[in-house]
Symmetry: C2
Subunit: 216 residues, 2 copies
């Protein structure tokens, strides 16, 4: 609301675009590299190459800057996921695409930002609700994506899709946390391969089984 106002024209950036953006990027990098506990105004500002006071000038508080960082990565990744998922033809292909993008995420650290914010929310009053509101779109996205592939198959009757979407998002987060603990990247990689195989099986299963299994 206060942002964007001032003495400049509408279409032109009021010079906000420079350090403001650099702070957001620096916050993302800091969350990935030093975690929520290490993401102080001073550390972030140093990485952004500016003064610590600017964090409060632009965002009012460190927590707000961190939320802006989460918004930024969320938006970037959501675009990427939407685009990539659109190219998948069946459930098996979807799993393959999801695995590829997930590897991108691990590399770029976008899921790391999310999990750090979730973790940090426990010790920062009021942050939990804000973070929760930013996760819901991901569960929704996962749900609609799943429905597109699964709703017409027997699995659509067998498994509550909303639960499956929730579980998938939770699994992503859990794998991320465990992966960033030690050097067990092999475990995550192995799991991705397994998931790809399983989805191939499920696709075959869905195609072979009758439209309704009568189960449940």
């Amino acid at each position: 609301m206060a942002k964007g106002g001032g003495s400049s024209r509408v279409g032109k950036r009021p010079a906000k675009g420079d350090t403001y953006r650099r702070l957001v990027d620096a916050a993302i990098e800091t969350l990935c590299h030093d975690g929520f506990g290490g993401a102080s105004a001073r550390v972030i500002a140093r990485r952004a190459g500016c003064n610590q006071a600017l964090v409060f000038y632009h965002f009012g508080s460190v927590a707000n800057l961190l939320l802006a960082a989460l918004d930024e990565t969320s938006a970037r990744r959501m675009d990427r996921y939407r685009g990539a998922v659109a190219t998948a033809g069946n459930l098996s292909a979807l799993a393959g695409v999801a695995a590829d993008i997930y590897r991108e995420d691990l590399d770029a650290g976008h899921i790391t930002v999310l999990s750090e914010m979730i973790a940090g929310a426990s010790s920062t009053p009021g942050l939990g609700e804000e973070v929760a509101a930013r996760i819901e779109p991901w569960i929704d996205f996962t749900e609609t994506t799943l429905r597109r592939f699964v709703d017409s198959t027997p699995m659509g009757q067998l498994v509550p899709i909303r639960d499956a979407a929730f579980a998938i998002v939770a699994l992503y987060l859990g794998v991320e946390m465990l992966t960033h603990l030690g050097d067990e990247c092999t475990a995550a990689e192995s799991l991705l391969a397994t998931t790809a195989q399983l989805s191939t099986f499920l696709t075959a299963f869905s195609a072979a089984a009758p439209t309704s299994t009568g189960f449940r």
Copy 2:
């Protein structure tokens, strides 16, 4: 090593048992209630009803106390899980038992301690390895438990058990984090119910299918 030494007899507690234990319990409660970021020596000591300096006298550092807290909950819960899992006869019953104990965990906050420690490890140098070493037993436990029920079924050939164990632990963590964010306890509860149903289906599937599916 330094603990237990001093002027007292072997079988007798050197009065260590009092505040030492109270500090560990207070650390557990603090991790659950205030998160890793809120678990300072001062806050924990206040909850334990003693002085802040005793944290450093007994444990040397806050991080060490937190690790002791993790060890304590881990040991308690491992006992409980082992005992409960032993009563399960098939995969479906196992899922039911797991769901029950998981609810206990959510209530008592034992998984919360684990996830907070994982999250906090990102911003405390050297903590990651310690926490990782304390998670491995849980993956091992999950793996051997799974094998006991699944190894002789077609699923044993279809799914790499180690991956499945890793995924289950990751899922537990992810669900915990999402649950403690807002008041989405309903989502976790719904997921537990779904899992119970699914495992029933899988049990039936395993019984009906031939010993080897020839898949993979």
